[in-house]
Symmetry: C2
Subunit: 208 residues, 2 copies
């Protein structure tokens, strides 16, 4: 019996390893697909259209909004960012779990529009560990790190709105924990309507 | 950090192996406790007070109702059945998951009073398998089996009200699946308030 995919939103502070966990899920398990966002910002060196983002003009983006072609979108630093609907729905119907890596505002819109979606917040083991990881990268100035830590403090106010947290202590363990949470979510009745109806019909048939 | 226990309601048709699964959870994992119901019905041979049930008089039961000492109760075949509150709350506070083996009416009352509780419905792999199991026991008359199958058909109407279903194909696998669903549920923010607040406070401290 075909089982429906789950729409999974993954959020977390910069530096918690969100991206690595998403990559881990995609490479380790084959029933996952990553949603590619649409944006009006310019591609950075190395970014490939259709992989990193779908790069479009402002006119194209606004046309997609009007046609109700986006699940959610937001404007950030004078650029639009959004989640195209067609790809997500196609993958879910195929039984694949679709991952959206977005922030809390988008996450809450998703939950409202898709009550069966699952919101997951990746946590660092501690605040100190988060700072150490950001510092350890060696690519960010102290100013940027301080800004990210302030942003993390703000974002932490919304954690309770998520369905689940996962602690990223070691990547492999975190990928596995995340996968287990998703597998458990698959056992919600809404994802097993075919099976439930088959058993129900079988009981009726036996009784008649 | 102490983690709060989960109040778990387990329901399922007669013959799905509910009792065996509950026993499996209790014997395999040590963070579980089984709630013992209170009843006014007479003990059957071999039933031990405080293990099978707390056997009380009608007057004692009604006194407990008045004192708000029951989480839920129902009257069935002229006898009262209920879940004493004190034991459940004591175990949850100790971080143990408390299992209640009750039917849908009670389950829905629990969910209303304890929104963080978890309702689990054990499913047979198929209607035919359920009938085979009931027949295979060899202890029930065809009449009783027919009655149980009709009851199962009625009960199947409420499955969608449960948080999760688990399919009992083989006992060991089903116990493990159930445990995994419970472990995943532990990662809901409400069961991790201490941890979330510690990280949040840590972020604030670093920023000051």
């Amino acid at each position: 019996m075909n089982r429906r995919g789950i729409l999974i939103v993954i959020s977390g502070f910069a530096g918690t390893g969100k991206g690595t966990i998403v990559k881990g899920l995609l490479s380790k398990y084959d029933d996952f697909a990553l949603s590619v966002s649409m944006t009006t910002r310019n591609p950075r060196p190395g970014e490939v259209n259709g992989e990193s983002y779908f790069f479009v003009t402002k006119e194209e983006f606004e046309k997609t909004i009007k046609e109700d072609g986006l699940i959610e979108y937001a404007s950030y630093c004078d650029n639009y960012y959004g989640t195209p609907k067609a790809y997500v729905e196609e993958q879910l119907a195929k039984g694949r779990n679709v991952i959206l890596e977005i922030e809390i505002q988008g996450a809450l819109i998703i939950k409202e529009k898709f009550p069966d979606s699952m919101l997951l917040f990746i946590m660092p083991p501690s605040a100190k560990e988060l700072k150490d990881r950001l510092t350890g990268r060696g690519t960010e100035t102290p100013d940027v790190i301080a800004k990210r830590m302030r942003r993390a403090a703000d974002e932490s106010e919304g954690i309770e709105k998520y369905d689940y947290i996962v602690v990223n202590d070691t990547i492999d363990k975190c990928v596995e924990d995340t996968y287990n949470i998703i597998e458990a979510y698959h056992m919600r009745p809404v994802f097993n309507e075919d099976f439930i109806n088959t058993v129900r019909q079988g009981l009726k048939d036996i009784n008649n």
